[in-house]
């Protein structure tokens, strides 16, 4: 029982770590960025290559994953995304799908179609006893990371004017500019932040999901579930949703394995019917 919940929470944390960036770019900035997984993949490959080819440690490689993904995000923002903030969401879909295609082909070209090798560092391998329950160290580490990221983001986005500025700019770019907000720089930074978080999540997923060039498409629906069930544009919403999804998924598979893939989608649909704007709806929208 405890272990099932623990596993679910850990799995949920991973979903949160990868998905929260999407809640920022898609929810907060209103950019339907289906290429979110691409940035996660960039982070994942960066970490994996640094560790396996250059012998970098796990923690520094996590930081590099964040930075690399943020940089790639920044470049793409400058060249492509920037031009589409005001465009129709479907144009954004087309752009981001194009980016996914290019990234999948590019990574296949450079790294081959198969998975990346990854060995957990010894400290994170195996189990440790926590309140009498034997839990996986890596899973515990995921939970710590998730909590840390949550706290940091709440502080940055919730407590400062920064979050309000982003929301204002998304509400009405014209007027935001007309009241002195430097929308372009704001979006640039925010987008890079979202991508960096994706990269971090991608690197952390190495120990659990396995990384291959088709990553961006394979897990896209999971990211979307977390963000939409949680409430796009919020941080706590996806956090709760991710935990919910994680626990329901793991517990469902444990207690009701016949339900298989059904359960998670049924839960998602029910949640969305009950709370159409997410667990924590972004306020103030009509």
């Amino acid at each position: 029982m405890e272990i099932v919940i623990f596993d679910g929470v850990a799995y949920g944390m991973l979903l949160f770590l990868i998905g929260v960036g999407l809640s920022i770019t898609m929810g907060l900035m209103n950019f339907v960025n289906l290429a979110h997984g691409t940035f996660a993949m960039v982070g994942g490959y960066a970490a994996s290559v640094l560790m396996s080819r250059f012998g970098m440690g796990f923690l520094p490689s996590l930081a590099t994953a964040f930075v690399t993904a943020a940089l790639v995000g920044a470049v793409l923002e400058l060249v492509l995304y920037r031009r589409l903030y005001r465009a129709h969401p479907l144009d954004q879909v087309l752009l981001s799908i194009g980016i996914v295609f290019v990234s999948v082909a590019t990574f296949t070209y450079f790294f081959g179609p198969t998975m990346q090798a990854f060995e957990l560092p010894a400290v994170l391998d195996g189990r440790v006893s926590l309140l009498g329950v034997e839990v996986g160290r890596y899973r515990l580490f995921l939970i710590l990371c998730g909590t840390l990221v949550l706290a940091t983001l709440l502080l940055v986005l919730g407590r400062t004017r920064y979050g309000a500025m982003v929301r204002a700019a998304v509400d009405n770019q014209r007027v935001a500019g007309g009241t002195g907000i430097h929308v372009q720089r704001l979006f640039f930074l925010t987008f890079s932040l979202g991508c960096g978080l994706a990269g971090l999540g991608g690197a952390l997923s190495l120990g659990m999901l396995g990384l291959e060039p088709s990553f961006p498409l394979k897990y896209l629906v999971y990211f979307l579930i977390v963000v939409c069930v949680g409430g796009a544009g919020t941080i706590t919403g996806p956090f709760i949703a991710a935990l919910l999804v994680g626990v329901v998924d793991v517990a469902g598979k444990y207690y009701l394995p016949q339900a298989g893939a059904f359960l998670i989608y049924v839960v998602m649909i029910v949640m969305l019917l009950l709370r159409p704007n997410g667990i924590i709806p972004r306020k103030g929208l009509a």
Partner: protein, 257 residues
């Protein structure tokens, strides 16, 4: 007096549609301006051009001696333009208070002072932008512009949707802001008499050009001219009976409730 703002043969519009056809005027330092004209003549477009939201095809806009050229709007705000858009356009997903603080820039105007100016906003401080009444949104939009601590207020039909008592008070305080605090305004108004009372200078637009420019007082005094430009009834005072001057001593702040 030195020039504060000037439009020099400005041709501007949206996409391929031209709205301003060689519009020119200039405004001296510290003077406020009424912009009059019928629906669709380009009053809003004039302000949007000033904010950098239109396509300027020819001509120049100078602000305090500098050509604004293609400056992005946030820079114009930082240079001192405070904009109140026609459709209010408060940020719907921000609370009243966030709407104000999010644009705050250092200067004499701060949250407390705006709340004192519009006590109604303080009462509704926790409401989201789209949970406000029309008039409250108007107040918020004005308050928001003040929070940017501008050197010139651009008011696009600021009185629309406000209760008469507030209109009176607001008109008075806009005039006072100019006189005692040196914060002039450009006022676009449908009620010429009201606008002329609030300002020093006035221009009348027709099809994207200036057809009359002069002092507000002179225009207000010339009913025939006014009616010629703006139609029958234009010269009728919106607020009759201006005996209320004696009430001026009443503190503005209690009355704007």
């Amino acid at each position: 007096m030195s020039e504060m703002l000037a439009f020099d043969q400005v041709v501007a519009g949206y996409g391929s549609a031209v709205v301003l056809h060689g519009l020119s005027f200039s405004l001296a330092q510290g003077q406020s301006l009424a912009v009059l004209g019928r629906n669709g003549v380009g009053k809003t477009t004039l302000l949007e051009t000033l904010m950098g939201n239109t396509r300027v095809m020819r001509g120049a806009v100078r602000w305090c001696g500098e050509d604004l050229g293609r400056w992005p709007s946030y820079r114009r705000v930082r240079a001192g333009l405070g904009w109140v858009p026609q459709e209010r356009e408060v940020f719907p997903s921000l609370t009243v208070e966030e709407n104000l603080t999010v644009v705050a820039r250092p200067g004499p105007w701060h949250l407390r002072r705006v709340y004192e100016f519009f006590p109604r906003l303080r009462e509704r401080r926790g409401n989201y932008g789209n949970q406000l009444s029309g008039g409250e949104q108007q107040m918020l939009s004005i308050g928001r512009a003040l929070m940017t601590n501008p050197k010139l207020l651009l008011l696009d039909e600021p009185m629309e949707g406000l209760a008469p008592i507030i209109v009176e008070e607001l008109a008075r305080s806009i005039r006072r802001l100019c006189e005692s605090e040196g914060l002039p305004s450009i006022v676009v108004e449908q009620h010429p008499v009201l606008a002329l009372e609030m300002t020093h200078q006035a221009i009348v637009l027709e099809r994207g050009t200036v057809v009359h420019a002069g002092s507000s007082a002179a225009l207000a005094g010339n009913a025939r001219l006014l009616e010629g430009f703006l139609g029958v009834g234009a010269a009728e005072a919106h607020i009759h009976n201006n005996t209320g001057a004696s009430n001026d001593s009443n503190d503005l702040d209690d009355r704007l409730a």
